[in-house]
C-alpha cells in the first residue's frame, strides 16, 4: 500500500501484460494475482478488483468518452450507479486534484495531451481506487505534458495512492521508490533506483540505459571522484560537486 513501483523493460518484455494482470484485464495462465485478498481468477471479483485498481493507458484519445470534461470524469461513476449528488462532488474533488477544475465544461478534444491525461487520471481517481496502473501514460506527450503528469504522480504518491508506472523513460523511473526490470517475461532486476541503475551490464543486456545523471556520477566515481552513489537528480550532483570543490 502506498508504494510507487516502476516497471521497466524493452518492448515485448511483458510490462503491459503485467499491468493488465493486476486488474483482471488478463487472467494468469499459472499463478495467482490477489488484490486486497481478491483472486483475479474468480470472475465474481472482477468488478471489485477493477474498482480498486484503476488503469491509465498510453493514448489519451483512446480513453476519453465524454463530450465535456466533467461528463468524462463521471463516466465510471455512472456505471457504478453512484447517486447524482455524490457524483458531482467526486467529479469536482478529483478535477481539483489534477488541477483541471476550471476546464470542467470544456470539450476534451480541445485539450492538450497532458491535460487529457490529467482528465483520464481524474476519471480513475473518481472511482476511489487504492492503486493506479499507468501504462506508458506519458510516452505520447510533449515535455510540458510529461511534466504536468509527473507532478500529479508525485502528489498522488504523497497522498498515499499506490502507483505502478510502466515506462520507457529512465528519467521518469527516478520518481519511484522501487524499480522492477522485466526482460523476456522475467524479472531480471529489482530494487531501489540506486540499486537497479548501478547494474549497468544487466541494463545493457535489456537495451536500457541508466539516466544521464547516474551515468555521469558512475563515470566520475570510476575516475576516483569521491561522490556518494545515491545521486539521482541533476541538482544533487551539482551540489555534491560544488561541496567537493570547496573541500579539496
Amino acid at each position: 500500500m502506498g508504494d510507487f513501483l516502476c516497471v521497466l523493460g524493452p518492448n515485448g518484455s511483458g510490462k503491459s501484460t503485467f499491468g493488465r494482470l493486476l486488474n483482471a484485464l488478463l487472467i494468469p495462465t499459472e499463478g495467482e494475482v490477489l488484490v486486497d485478498g481478491l483472486d483475479t481468477r474468480d470472475s465474481r471479483n472482477t468488478w471489485a478488483i477493477r474498482q480498486r485498481v484503476g488503469m491509465v493507458f498510453q493514448n489519451p484519445d483512446n480513453q476519453i468518452v465524454g463530450t465535456q470534461v466533467e461528463e468524462d470524469v463521471a463516466f465510471g461513476l455512472e456505471n457504478l450507479g453512484i447517486p447524482r449528488q455524490e457524483m458531482q462532488q467526486r467529479v469536482e474533488e478529483n478535477l481539483t486534484r489534477v488541477g483541471m477544475l476550471s476546464y470542467r465544461q470544456h470539450p476534451p478534444h480541445l485539450l492538450s495531451g497532458g491535460q487529457k491525461q490529467r482528465v483520464a487520471i481524474a476519471g480513475v481517481l473518481a472511482m476511489q481506487p487504492q492503486s493506479i496502473v499507468l501504462d506508458e501514460a506519458t510516452s505520447l506527450l510533449d515535455p510540458k505534458g510529461r511534466l504536468e503528469v509527473r507532478k500529479i504522480l508525485v502528489q498522488l504518491h504523497r497522498e498515499g495512492v499506490t502507483l505502478i508506472l510502466i515506462t520507457h523513460l529512465m528519467e521518469e523511473a527516478l520518481l519511484a521508490d522501487k524499480l522492477v526490470v522485466l526482460n523476456e517475461g522475467r524479472i531480471v532486476l529489482s530494487g531501489s533506483p540506486q540499486e537497479v541503475f548501478g547494474q549497468s551490464e544487466m541494463l545493457r543486456q535489456c537495451h536500457l540505459e541508466a539516466p544521464t545523471v547516474v551515468r555521469l556520477t558512475q563515470a566520475l566515481r570510476e575516475q576516483s571522484v569521491a561522490l556518494p552513489n545515491r545521486i539521482l537528480q541533476v541538482e544533487e550532483l551539482v551540489d555534491e560537486l560544488c561541496i567537493l570543490k570547496r573541500n579539496i
Partner: protein
C-alpha cells in the same frame, strides 16, 4: 538541395473568429546535405513549417525557394515538390495500408508515374536504406511487423520517391530505447552515406544535440534562435525562454559553470564530461 525561406508567414483561417497566426516572418536557409534539428514547444509552428516545405500548405506571405525555384508560386507542380521533399509524419505506421510491404513502399513512386519495371528496384533500394532485408520482408503484411519495423517501412515508403530532402516529424516518439537507437542510427547513415539533407523535428533534446549540425528554435511562430548545438546549448536562458530544456548533460555542465566550474562548452559525451570535471576539481586542489 538548397532551401531558402524568406519572410514566411502562415495564418490559419484568415478573417475568421479563430484566425491563428502560426508563423510570422520566418527566414532561414539550409545548405544541401545539412542535418537540421527543428525544435520548439507544441504550438510553436514546427508542423506548419514542415508542411510548407513540402508544398502541403502555401505560405500566406513570403517565399520558399528549393534550389532557386519558388514553390509558393501557384504555377509550380506540387507533385514534383513532394517527390523532392519527403515528409515522414508523426506515427507514420498509422498510414500503412497495403497487403504487403512491397506494395506499401511502392505506393509513392507509383503515384509519381515511375515505370513499373523500375518500381521493384526502388522498393528494394528503399528497404535496404532503412536496414530491412527486401527478400524476407517484401511479401509480408506490414501489420505483422514490430512497431519499430513498421516505422522503418513507412520511412522506406518516402525514400522510394528518392527525395533530396527528408523531413522527419517526431520519428522516435513512443518507441522503446532499442527501437529509438536503431532508427536514429539509420537516419545518421542516410545523412552520411546518401548525403541526404535532413530536417529532424523532435521534442527529445538529447536526440537533437547528438545528431544535428545546426538547430532552429521556433517560439510562437517566430524563429528565435539558430546555431550549432554548442552555440545553442550554451545559451541556457534563451533555450528555456522558448519553453524548452537543455539536454541533461549540457544542463549539468551549464549549472556547474554557473557555480564557478571552468568547463569547455562543447561536451556532449559522458566520459569526456567526467574527465573535464575531474580535471577542474584537481585544478582547484593545486
Amino acid at each position: 538541395m538548397h532551401i531558402e525561406a524568406k519572410h514566411l508567414t502562415y495564418v490559419y483561417g484568415p478573417g475568421l473568429p479563430w484566425e491563428k497566426r502560426a508563423l510570422s516572418d520566418v527566414s532561414f536557409s539550409i545548405e544541401s546535405g545539412e542535418f537540421i534539428g527543428l525544435i520548439g514547444e507544441t504550438g510553436s509552428g514546427k508542423s506548419t513549417l514542415v508542411q510548407i516545405l513540402n508544398g502541403l500548405l502555401r505560405p500566406t506571405e513570403g517565399t520558399i525557394l528549393l534550389d532557386g525555384s519558388d514553390i509558393s508560386d501557384r504555377k509550380v507542380n506540387l507533385h514534383r515538390i513532394r517527390a523532392q521533399v519527403g515528409l515522414v509524419f508523426q506515427f507514420p505506421e498509422q498510414q500503412l495500408f497495403a497487403e504487403t510491404v512491397s506494395e506499401d513502399v511502392a505506393f509513392g513512386p507509383k503515384n509519381l508515374g515511375v515505370p513499373k519495371e523500375e518500381i521493384g528496384k526502388r522498393v528494394d533500394e528503399a528497404l535496404l536504406k532503412v536496414g530491412l532485408l527486401p527478400q524476407s520482408l517484401r511479401d509480408r503484411s506490414p501489420f505483422t511487423l514490430s512497431g519499430g519495423e513498421k516505422r522503418l517501412v513507412s520511412i522506406a515508403g518516402v525514400l522510394a520517391m528518392r527525395p533530396k530532402v527528408l523531413i522527419l516529424d517526431e520519428v522516435t516518439a513512443g518507441l522503446d530505447p532499442k527501437g529509438k537507437k536503431e532508427i536514429l542510427a539509420r537516419i545518421q547513415l542516410l545523412h552520411r552515406v546518401e548525403k541526404a539533407t535532413i530536417i529532424l523535428v523532435s521534442h527529445d533534446m538529447d536526440e537533437i544535440a547528438l545528431l544535428s549540425q545546426r538547430i532552429l528554435i521556433l517560439k510562437e511562430g517566430k524563429l528565435i534562435l539558430e546555431g550549432s548545438p554548442v552555440e545553442i546549448f550554451t545559451r541556457a536562458q534563451d533555450v528555456r525562454s522558448a519553453g524548452l530544456d537543455l539536454p541533461t548533460l549540457p544542463r549539468i555542465l551549464s549549472d556547474l559553470r554557473c557555480r564557478g566550474f571552468q568547463l569547455p562548452t562543447a561536451i556532449f559525451e559522458i566520459g569526456e564530461a567526467a574527465r573535464w570535471i575531474r580535471k577542474e576539481l584537481f585544478r582547484a586542489a593545486v
